[in-house]
């Protein structure tokens, strides 16, 4: 046991170098920083957005349009001249994203049931995604103006029916069913909640498995190239102890990295989705989500943690063997490529496709890949399908033991020194 601890300590010291830690810390700070910026920008967009209004019609038009724009969360500034070029310059100088021009006889002609056209000038000063939100708000406001005047027309022509009922005679109550549970809640809110809870878990898992595998394969290849392996193999240590120390050392470092990534991603996600389900909207759907059984329990997190941990361990056990196969440290990238594919395939298929709709052959292929199970567990966690997650964990454990035994066999034989993908230099 003493030798095992000594070896684990050595592994951790070798892996936790300043070159490894520094980029990780920078990444966490950067993610938090980006999250904060996005959060602040989102808050800015929640406030009324400015719009410049030029009226070429009677004052009545200005009052009506201005009120509708304000109802649609726009802050109206009125430009009192009739020169459009001057209005554009004014909007540019005040960083107002849109200019709305009310034409002559606008209100009078509408009263006479003649369709009218407003002119909208969108003043583009950058092409960011968030900036486009401002223009969408203007489009929404135009819809609001249309709705206002169509209501007016309906009140005039079909006064015995409420305009709202006339426009939408059929309403919809939305129910969501998951397994045997049904609740009245919009599907978009359920999806929003699930994505908020789980979006970053597959990303973290993907990064950690790849990083841990590369790390341990690199460590093994490095030991082989530097011949420190030969020194260890000729010393009085059981060879299984060497393998387990490598697994545990890399496992500890991988978990540390996973936790750091989690912190980084969660602070980023909090910034991006911050407050999305807080307040009255959040309180409103909490009951519905509970009724649907879409709740992450502490037990769920334990199962997910186990699945994640075993995923990392399987990757480490395979990476040890791949590290032995590497001809040199430089060839680690090449020998670990099949492992990367085994991680990428389930990640993309489970995250970006409708897994339930895949053919049985593809589904079983995905089930056979041990790294699929943590990705699958994320979804199953929400509906407390612990039997599925548990079966996945048992399968992962079996695969892990298989590769550990295989690694032990290689360590106990000549293959530890002779096994190479480049057979040209066999001796």
């Amino acid at each position: 046991m003493k030798k095992f601890i000594v070896l684990v300590k050595k592994e951790i010291k070798e892996l936790l170098t300043i070159q490894m830690i520094l980029p990780l810390i920078i990444m966490v700070i950067l993610f938090g920083f980006i999250g904060q910026i996005i959060s602040k920008e989102t808050e800015k967009f929640a406030a009324p957005q400015p719009i410049l209004l030029m009226n070429q019609d009677a004052p009545d038009s200005l009052a009506i349009v201005s009120d509708v724009l304000k109802e649609n969360n726009l802050a109206v500034s009125v430009f009192n001249q009739t020169d459009i070029a001057a209005a554009i310059v004014e909007a540019q100088s005040k960083r107002i994203p849109a200019l709305l021009v009310i034409p002559e006889k606008f209100y009078q002609d509408l009263k006479n049931f003649q369709p009218q056209e407003l002119s909208i000038y969108k003043i583009v000063q950058n092409f960011s995604l968030l900036a486009s939100v401002k223009y969408n708000m203007v489009d929404q406001a135009i819809k609001g103006i249309n709705s206002y005047f169509s209501d007016e027309w309906l009140k005039e022509k079909v006064s015995f029916i409420e305009p709202a009922s006339l426009k939408n005679p059929v309403g919809a109550k939305e129910f969501v069913n998951i397994n045997d549970k049904t609740a009245e809640v919009p599907f978009s809110l359920v999806m929003g909640f699930i994505q908020k809870q789980t979006t970053f878990i597959p990303i973290v898992l993907f990064l950690v498995i790849i990083m841990a595998a590369q790390m341990v394969a690199m460590a093994v290849a490095n030991e082989k190239e530097n011949k420190t392996f030969e020194i260890l193999l000729s010393s009085p240590i059981n060879r299984k102890t060497i393998i387990f120390a490598k697994l545990v050392g890399a496992g500890i470092v991988a978990l540390l990295f996973a936790a750091t990534y989690m912190v980084g991603f969660s602070s980023y996600m909090n910034g991006v989705t911050g407050g999305a389900l807080s307040g009255s909207a959040g309180a409103g759907i909490t009951g519905s989500l509970q009724a649907l059984g879409v709740v992450v329990t502490p037990m769920g997190y334990v199962f997910l943690g186990l699945s994640l941990f075993l995923g990392v361990l399987v990757a480490l056990a395979i990476a040890i063997i791949l590290g032995i196969l590497a001809d040199s440290v430089k060839s680690v990238q090449a020998v670990t490529t099949p492992l990367m594919i085994l991680i990428l395939l389930p990640y993309f298929l489970i995250t970006f496709t409708d897994f339930g709709a895949l053919t049985p052959a593809v589904k079983w292929l995905i089930y056979a890949i041990p790294f699929s199970h943590p990705f699958l567990a994320v979804g199953k966690l929400m509906v407390q399908d612990y039997a599925f997650i548990g079966a996945g964990i048992i399968y992962q454990l079996a695969v892990f033991l298989f590769f550990v035994v295989l690694a032990a066999k290689i360590f106990s034989s000549d293959k530890i020194l002779t096994l190479k993908l480049n057979f040209k230099k066999k001796r």
Binding site: K10, K13, I231, P236, I416
Partner: protein
């Protein structure tokens, strides 16, 4: 007297390639025995088999009278192996590396202390032991590794090309240390393709080519038998 090492009729094949063929030799306590031959002669393979890293295809190896394949774990406590051009863990300091290896070999704290003191003395790296190995020159790394190899005072030290790639001064210092250790009771099996080094260091030697021992004895005996002025000449006469 008990032999420190006995190798009997050793064969080693890598697939279809015969790396070692019918090799037999022995080493007494306090003796330095050298395997001399060109690159690819099979020297390193023999050393790795004796170091319990590789298994022989056939043949027997005894260390202090014990079959190395019957009780490899026990054998590994009596031997210590220094591979050719080996490195060390670059993120550790020299002292950190010696501590790590002492922890592996020592049974208790006082033994660890004793091993460390001996290694510090042999390495002669003084305050540089506190520097990271990544900052060491080739000669310093080799001295550190030699100190690590002998720190537990093994019955048999197995040294693969101990001075390979070193400058004259570093090579000389390492040879002097090896001689001193052998005088103090350690048996040494070393490999080299440097005939002058072997003549200076070894008590006895075996000339090996293409996996076969062509001749063995003291340097003086081999030179006399082959009417040669030096070992290089002997090797050229025997090997060709």
């Amino acid at each position: 007297m008990q032999k420190a090492l006995e190798v009997k009729n050793l064969h080693k094949n890598y697939g279809n390639i015969q790396a070692v063929e019918s090799v037999s030799f022995d080493i007494n306590e306090n003796e330095i025995f050298a395997l001399v031959g060109p690159n690819g002669a099979g020297k390193s393979t023999i050393l790795k088999i004796v170091a319990t890293i590789l298994s022989p295809t056939s043949g027997e190896v005894f260390i202090n009278g014990e079959d190395i394949h019957r009780n490899a774990d026990h054998i590994r406590r009596m031997i210590s192996y220094l591979p050719e051009e080996a490195g060390a863990y670059k993120n550790l300091t020299g002292l950190g590396y010696l501590r790590f290896m002492a922890d592996i070999y020592a049974d208790n704290a006082s033994q660890k202390k004793e091993y460390l003191e001996f290694a510090e003395e042999i390495s002669d790296l003084k305050s540089r032991l506190k520097s990271k190995i990544a900052t060491y020159s080739k000669g310093m790394t080799r001295k550190l590794l030699l100190a690590r190899t002998v720190m537990s005072r093994p019955k048999l030290a197995i040294l693969d090309e101990p001075t390979s790639g070193l400058d004259v001064m570093n090579a000389y210092e390492i040879r002097t240390v090896i001689k001193k250790l052998a005088k103090a009771g350690m048996a040494v099996l070393l490999s080299s393709h440097n005939m002058l080094e072997v003549e200076f260091l070894s008590d006895r030697l075996a000339l090996i080519n293409k996996g076969v021992i062509k001749a063995s004895g003291t340097a003086k005996e081999l030179k006399m038998q082959n009417q040669a002025e030096n070992l290089e000449e002997v090797f050229m006469k025997i090997a060709l």
